[in-house]
């Protein structure tokens, strides 16, 4: 017992002696790290690697890559640039995760478990033993109010500091340098889309944004502005960035309401078209990677799409918008392009050579265990090579040098020519189930043999709509039963595509008034080599054609109120009358009635 106390006192003294720097070096006890290892092995190792080297089972298919704990570099910190994160920083990420990445929050872990895991994680990197690598957490001031002046000042700072180079002029992550950005491991990294605050990896609040400016994201091209900007300017910049996004929450919907219009829908008259769509309700739908059929896409570029619709007597028009870091409007694309199996793995990037004409996608193929994983269905390596070779030689030469690129300097684009173009598709069932069986739909992924779907597809190279009929991923054929028109435009990182078709259809679905029609979306980003089945897609949602004659709520409301009032008055009248009439029946109330008075 006394020995124990003595030891404790000695330890306290020791701690006093090496303070203050050593006070921060808290690596936990052996037991704590051992306990942390148990939790880590169960919940973390599969991505971050059992050895903490960021290479777990999931790593090949995950982007951004899981943190490599052996490097000691952390993106989201409150400590100055280049420093190690505080325990609280680590805890914050473990608790809430990083949105729109494969790092989830772990609300099921207790505080102690998290602390133990932190100790264990720290043990992977020797940096944590070095007191010099620790920095004081920065001071995050209270955010300034978002006044117009503050935002304007922020805009100036935004321009001065060259933020637009990566994040784009209006913040859609579409700056000229955006396609070239790589992190320390050489992987392409997307500049944050500042208009979609909910996708900020470090968090959506003003404090989070300030923190990111001030500390930078270690290991990425995002620098710290702690030295170059005054606190106040950073705060203005925060307000400006904050003003770029509309909400912390994407408010994903399940239904587009197609607005009725008396006017003609003319795709060529841009202004009239914009006016038409201005009043139509807008719905944002989530997009996810296509990960069930070959050509799987584990890291789609587009995470959501906004859609609107208007219709008139004869026609219906859909408008969709989504953000894309570059307009790839030079390559080829169509929904039935084949995608070799290995192209699913983002891991190929890691070993890729920048100068290679395959761009980010070197010829190194899939890791060996993956080849075995697909067993009999594996594409033979020879085929891979030849397939890939042919593709790159032909297309990158033709498409890129042939057509040039309006939006970017040749220098940036040269390394990764637009082999595949951006594209978008709306998907509808080829026929609607009879009204009394609303539950029958085609398979959301391009239909099936019995229940086909129709695709309204626009390859943004050409900007015209093609129609396809899908009977499953392997059976997509062009059809020409209905004519779909489309106009497209790319502006500041945002694609806008407007489709139009006659409401009545010969072979496909017709849009009757007040009808719920299933709809699904697909988006291809050529830059991300998305083509064929490798794409971002949505599950089934609905488009509802609102009634052409809208009814106001006033009359039904008045009617309901008056009916209730009339009943009330009647009751009051009857009760009062009866009460006046006398005493005998009152005690019996309305129950006995008048026909059978109590004996």
């Amino acid at each position: 017992m006394t020995a124990c106390i003595r030891k404790g006192i000695a330890a306290a003294f020791a701690a006093l002696l090496v303070a203050p720097a050593a006070a921060q070096v808290d690596l936990g006890t052996e037991e704590q790290r051992a306990a942390g290892k148990v939790v880590y092995d169960k919940y973390c190792g599969q991505c971050h690697g059992d050895a903490g080297d960021g290479y777990g089972y999931a790593t090949p298919r995950v982007q951004p890559k899981p943190r490599d704990f052996t490097t000691g570099k952390y993106k989201f910190r409150t400590t100055p640039n280049g420093m190690l994160p505080s325990d609280d920083d680590l805890r914050r990420i473990i608790e809430i995760g990083a949105p729109y990445t494969s790092m989830p929050g772990w609300p099921n872990l207790t505080s102690t478990e998290i602390q133990n895991v932190i100790y264990y994680i720290k043990s992977f990197s020797p940096d944590f033993e070095n007191p010099d690598r620790y920095g004081e957490p920065i001071d995050i001031p209270r955010p300034l109010e978002s006044t117009a002046e503050s935002i304007a000042r922020g805009r100036v700072v935004y321009e001065e500091q060259g933020c637009a180079a990566c994040h784009g002029d209006v913040g859609r992550g579409d700056g000229p340098s955006a396609p070239t950005l790589v992190d320390d491991a050489g992987d392409h990294i997307r500049a944050a889309d500042l208009t979609q605050r909910w996708t900020y990896r470090g968090g959506p609040t003003k404090e989070d944004i300030y923190r990111t400016f001030s500390t930078g994201l270690n290991g990425t091209p995002m620098p710290s502005y702690a030295d170059s900007l005054e606190v106040e300017d950073r705060q203005h910049l925060v307000n400006y960035v904050y003003s770029l996004g509309e909400a912390d929450d994407p408010n994903y919907g399940t239904l587009i309401t197609a607005a009725w219009t008396e006017e003609a829908i003319d795709l060529q008259d841009t202004e009239a078209l914009d006016t038409l769509f201005e009043t139509a309700p807008m719905t944002r739908f989530p997009l996810i990677g296509q990960i069930t059929e070959p050509g799987r896409n584990f890291y789609p570029s587009a995470t959501s799409i906004e859609a609107q619709a208007v219709y008139n007597r004869g026609e219906i028009a859909f408008r969709v918008r989504w953000n894309d870091l570059r307009a790839d409007n030079t390559g080829r694309n169509n929904p039935s392009l084949e995608v070799p199996m290995w192209d699913e793995d983002n891991d190929i990037v890691a070993t890729g050579d920048e100068g290679d004409d395959g761009g980010f996608f070197g010829v190194e193929e899939a890791p060996a265990d993956d080849a075995g994983f697909f067993g009999v269905e594996e594409v033979e390596p020879q085929d891979d090579a030849s397939f890939f070779g042919v593709e790159t030689v032909d297309d990158s030469a033709d498409d890129f040098f042939g057509t040039g690129d309006d939006f970017f300097g040749a220098g940036e684009a040269a390394s990764d020519g637009a082999e595949f173009s951006d594209a978008v598709a709306l998907q509808f069932p080829a026929s609607l189930a009879p009204e009394d069986t609303p539950q029958l739909k085609p398979y959301f992924l391009l239909g099936d043999a019995q229940n086909p779907v129709d695709l309204w597809f626009v390859n943004l190279t050409y900007g015209v709509a093609d129609t396809f009929r899908g009977r499953g991923s392997e059976a997509i054929e062009p059809t020409e039963a209905d004519i779909v028109e489309a106009v497209t435009s790319y502006d500041q990182g945002e694609w806008t595509v407007t489709f139009k078709r006659r409401r009545a259809s010969r072979a496909g679905v017709s849009f009757a008034e007040q009808q719920y029609t299933p709809i699904a979306f697909s988006v291809w980003d050529g830059f991300n080599r998305e083509r064929g089945n490798k794409r971002a897609l949505s599950s089934w949602f609905y488009v509802y054609t609102e009634p052409s004659v809208q009814q106001t709520a006033t009359i039904p409301m008045l009617r309901a109120a008056l009916i209730v009032l009339a009943i009330e008055l009647l009751i009051v009248f009857l009760v009062r009358r009866r009460a006046r009439q006398g005493t005998a029946e009152e005690s019996a109330g309305g129950l006995t009635g008048t026909e059978a008075p109590a004996v």
């Binding site: 026909e595 059978a596 109590a598 004996v599």
Partner: protein, 644 residues
């Protein structure tokens, strides 16, 4: 001028104007295209008046029509149509009305006979009077039944001649016995009714007994016809492999192979059982409604007391018959399933699954109404306040069971609701939507209703049995044990270790524990309250009016329920007249929606209630005082013949 003359004048005027109009019209038509100039020209040329081309054409046409009519072969119509409503709806409504009256006519003698028998054994006069009161309803209803039966037969022959002919082919040998039995029925019925008090009690009881035998036999014959349409054959293990095979009563082309198999077909007996029980319940409720009607009309305390009692007995009969009805229904459904999986799946899972949610609402209402009436009935007896506290708990139990029974397996839900639930079943409520929970609910409902009866029985009485405390406690323990068993099986069924098939089989111990508890409690209750001391007088006639409306509500719900179940039984066959043998090729061959069916059922029920209102009114006439002249002068003029 007198009124008669005016009427006569109008009649003559109308007749004349009709004649004039017709003649005028004929004249105009004839002269429509006449061309006098040309006719004259032709006359001049030939010197004789020739027929115009038009006249010639008309004459030719007539001749051709006549020739065609002469040559036209006789074609037997398969179907004929009724304008506006359609043949199916016509036959549907007529059959339903016939069936409702028939059910009443068959049911009332059953309990009239039993009540008369009780009266005979106990020697209490009031039972005899009650039985007579019930029987009074019979004679008019009997004619109604016959009328609608004739209507139905005509409708079938006219609208579905081919199919009716086919049924004749199969069942012609049964028609003569049917008619004979019908004749006997009339004989027994009228001798039973008019012979009241004229025969000796034993003879009269014998007449009543025969009336029931004959009535039941008639129903059994008619049931054979309709069950044949659903299951034209029987199931028998022909090849000896332990699995019953289907033995069709008719050949592939529909020719009769065995009248015996066609008659005693697979669903015949289940339907017979189900119908007898349902008829008694229905008849009881209608008789109770009649009593309610009379009670509300009654002008003196004696009548009020009598009809109060009659309503009570009618309701008692209805509910007692109703308690085993769900089990009879399960038996019928299981037999239909065993006969044909297609029919079974169609019934429980397919088109008709929502019908059973509707049925749950109806049956829930029936239970609630019946219990409510009993509780109100406690008001007849002095000093029952301490029983009122139980009502709350019984009500909670009934409402809970009702709610469980009405919980749909897959609820109608919006997308956001489905998203929130992660599917169309709610994580908690989905348990309630399953058969197991519903079985539990029905059993508890039955137990609760039985409890209400028991409570009602002991109002105003105090047991003088020496062991009364012990016996009463035993009753409580039995009741609690049965309820606990039912709930245990209901809840335990969902335990991980129980698979779905076993869970469904738990229904059997549930039913047995309820039945056993009811029998055991009754057995204890009889000695317990024999010669019990009366602490409060039962004051018949001391019922609030609302209780009588509750009786009418119960009768209405019963009628509606019967109509609804008629739809499912008949609709099950889908596009077949005779399942698998005679296809319905008329435009009405499809299965209508539930909404449409409920409209037809509602219309039928309203017609039935309109007619039964007439029956009630006619029956109430016999209780009225004989007509007497208003004044002496009038009496003189009319003579004295009316006094009797």
């Amino acid at each position: 001028m007198s009124r008669n003359k005016i009427l006569f004048g109008i009649g003559v005027l109308a007749f004349v104007s009709v004649i004039v109009t017709v003649r005028l019209g004929g004249f105009l038509v004839d002269n429509e295209y006449r061309q006098p100039e040309r006719q004259v020209a032709v006359e001049e040329a030939t010197g004789e008046a020739e027929a115009t081309p038009r006249q010639q054409g008309i004459a030719d046409e007539q001749a051709a029509d006549e020739a065609e009519a002469r040559a036209r072969p006789y074609v037997e119509a398969e179907y004929r149509a009724v304008p506006f409503v359609g043949s199916r709806v016509t036959v549907w409504v007529l059959a339903q009305l016939h069936l409702l009256f028939a059910a009443f006519v068959l049911a009332v003698p059953i309990f009239a006979f039993i009540i008369e028998f009780i009266g005979y054994v106990t020697g209490e006069k009031r039972y005899d009077r009650l039985a007579y009161e019930f029987t009074k309803l019979l004679s008019v209803s009997f004619s109604m039944t016959a009328t609608f039966g004739a209507f139905l037969t005509f409708a079938l022959i006219i609208l579905y001649p081919k199919f009716t002919n086919y049924l004749m082919h199969i069942f012609s040998p049964t028609f003569l016995p049917y008619v004979l039995l019908f004749f006997l029925e009339a004989l027994f019925l009228y001798s039973y009714y008019y012979g009241w008090g004229k025969f000796g009690p034993k003879m009269h009881l014998f007449l009543g007994f025969m009336l029931n035998v004959v009535g039941t036999a008639i129903m059994f014959i008619a049931n054979a016809w309709l069950t044949f349409m659903m299951s034209p054959g029987k199931r028998e293990d022909v090849d000896g492999d332990g699995i019953p095979d289907f033995v069709s009563a008719v050949s592939e082309s529909g020719a009769l192979l065995s009248l015996r198999d066609a008659f005693f077909n697979f669903t015949w007996m289940p339907i017979n059982i189900h119908r007898i029980i349902a008829n008694v319940a229905f008849g009881g409720s209608i008789a109770a409604a009649y009593a309610a009607f009379r009670y509300l009309q009654a002008r003196n305390d004696e009548d009020r007391a009598h009809f109060d009692w009659m309503g009570y007995v009618g309701n008692f009969v209805a509910i007692i018959a109703f308690l085993p009805l769900p089990f009879a229904g399960y038996y019928l459904a299981a037999e239909i399933y065993a006969f044909s999986q297609t029919l079974g799946v169609q019934m429980m899972g397919g088109t008709f699954s929502w019908l059973f949610v509707l049925q749950a609402a109806l049956i829930g209402n029936l239970f609630l109404g019946a219990n409510y009436y009993l509780w109100l009935g406690m008001g007849r007896i002095e000093g029952t306040a301490h029983f009122h506290r139980f009502i709350k708990w019984l009500l909670i139990a009934i409402a809970l069971c009702f709610a469980v029974w009405a919980t749909p397996r897959y609820a109608i839900a919006s997308v956001s609701e489905i998203a929130a639930m992660g599917g169309s079943s709610h994580p908690q409520l989905s348990y309630l939507g399953q058969m197991s929970a519903k079985n539990t609910a029905v059993n508890i409902l039955i137990l609760s209703t039985y409890m209400s009866f028991l409570l009602y029985r002991r109002t105003g009485k105090t047991s003088i049995h020496p062991q009364r405390q012990l016996l009463a406690r035993t009753q409580v323990i039995i009741f609690a044990a049965a309820a606990a068993l039912v709930i245990f099986f209901g809840v335990f069924g969902y335990h991980q270790s129980v698979d779905a098939a076993t869970r469904i089989r738990f229904a059997i111990p549930q039913v047995y524990s309820v039945l056993a508890a009811m029998v055991a409690i009754t057995v204890i209750d009889l000695p317990l309250y024999r010669n019990a001391r009366q602490t409060g007088e039962t004051q018949w006639g001391r019922m609030p009016a609302v209780s009588q409306y509750a009786l009418i509500f119960i009768a209405l719900s019963f009628t509606w329920l019967m109509g609804l179940m008629g739809y499912v039984r008949s609709g099950l066959r889908q596009e077949w007249h005779v399942y698998g043998v005679v296809l319905d090729t008329s435009p009405d061959a499809y299965t209508p929606t539930l909404g449409f069916a409920t409209q037809i059922v509602s219309v039928t029920v309203l017609i039935f209630f309109g007619l039964i209102g007439v029956v009630f009114w006619l029956s109430s006439l016999s209780g009225k005082k004989a007509w007497e002249p208003k004044s002496a002068v009038e009496a003189d003029r009319l003579g004295e013949g009316h006094a009797a």
